[in-house]
Symmetry: C2
Amino acid sequence: MLIRSTHPTDRAKILSLHHLPPINSQQSTEAVQLKGASMSFRRNAEIYGEGEPADYLYKIVSGTARTYKVLSDGRRQIGGFYLPGDILGLEIAEEHSFSAEAISGCKVLVIKRSVLVRLLAGRQDEITKELWGLIGAELRRVQTRNLLLIKSAQERVVAFLLDMAERVSTGNSVELPMSRQDIADYLGLTIETVSRTLTRLEKLAAIEISSSRRIVLRNRGALSRLNS
Amino acid sequence: MLIRSTHPTDRAKILSLHHLPPINSQQSTEAVQLKGASMSFRRNAEIYGEGEPADYLYKIVSGTARTYKVLSDGRRQIGGFYLPGDILGLEIAEEHSFSAEAISGCKVLVIKRSVLVRLLAGRQDEITKELWGLIGAELRRVQTRNLLLIKSAQERVVAFLLDMAERVSTGNSVELPMSRQDIADYLGLTIETVSRTLTRLEKLAAIEISSSRRIVLRNRGALSRLNS
DNA sequence: CGTGCGTTTGAGTGAATTCAACGGCTGTGG
DNA sequence: CCACAGCCGTTGAATTCACTCAAACGCACG
């Protein structure tokens, strides 16, 4: 099974909102705000916290971010990984339901949500469509992960690899920006299981682990087949 | 942990769309359509299929429905259970990403999506807000289930029971409309594990299994605690 | 050259699955 | 009215898979 998250380039196309021509002078200033402040976050810095008002959207320019939740028993569940072009903080509720952190150093574009909503009131058709596209992608992403979580450890890891390959795709070589612990928390496994599964996949000649953060997909067909 | 799906009464409030006053004569006829045809489905009848165009929403009037997907290896994953007042088929994509079936005999109100969208274009503020509320609820429901699926079998079953209690709540007695197989496919477990877990919970005096379809919550505190 | 962190590997345990059999309820037909 | 089949749910025994605990490895950094 494959994690069918929106492809980064698709996302970039969808949220070119700040490139829309201004509609009037009032919204012209808003369009400027839409372009948003560029902010930087260093490794492990918090971008926003669970429960905080969801006033802003964050578009990743460079680096990688993660959203996560800490359960009452201390376990951490990662909601998703966000690569350049992805939009973070796309909540419908008034408050963020996850926290977000930079995995590596991150440049992000901060976009005020209220501005989007106001724009939405004016330019009905196009912008609503774009927002719906984004929300739809988010929903599909989450639903797909639901399907993931009922599967075996091996299937989860394979799906993760194929998804990452699709998103960062430089040929068959995948550069993982996140740690094993991040991957484990994302897939609902332990770090040991992730590690063992990767080495097993390597022994099966499906992948090659160049370094711990660089994986080469040697046999996509086999991987897809392992994916049930 | 608790499945925080939208409470039925909340949903009913949110989607009183068809009770909105007509805006003009053109939309007046649409509002009539919004009220929608009432349809009936018998046990195990398909309401819509995966991949079909998502032209309609379905509001459950009576009975229970399930959405599901069959994986390539034959496993079935249930996306959710829908009780009276709930909205089915709330997809953002053009096609349904799950199939839907009646679990018991079902009366449903069929609402044309295009009408909603057109209405949305006219009555920006209120209707968009309502639709967003619905989508938001759906998103939260799915995210919450993600959190569920990383937990133990016992935690999943407990969360399921508490969620159902919240949704059908007649005191502490819960009438389960679905089979053990449905529950298992929903929680990503086997039917045996669900059964065993329930009997264990009964031995712990947390619940009482009056009949296989009727569960009495004897000790909600204990249940919540078992929920980590 | 150590120190520390992230990752890998190993051994043992435990939880959930698989395979199998049994019990109860319902509806049908003799 | 009873007998039997079929379905659903429960229970048992054995197995498998992922987890826990523990140790070792490799790499970057001071």
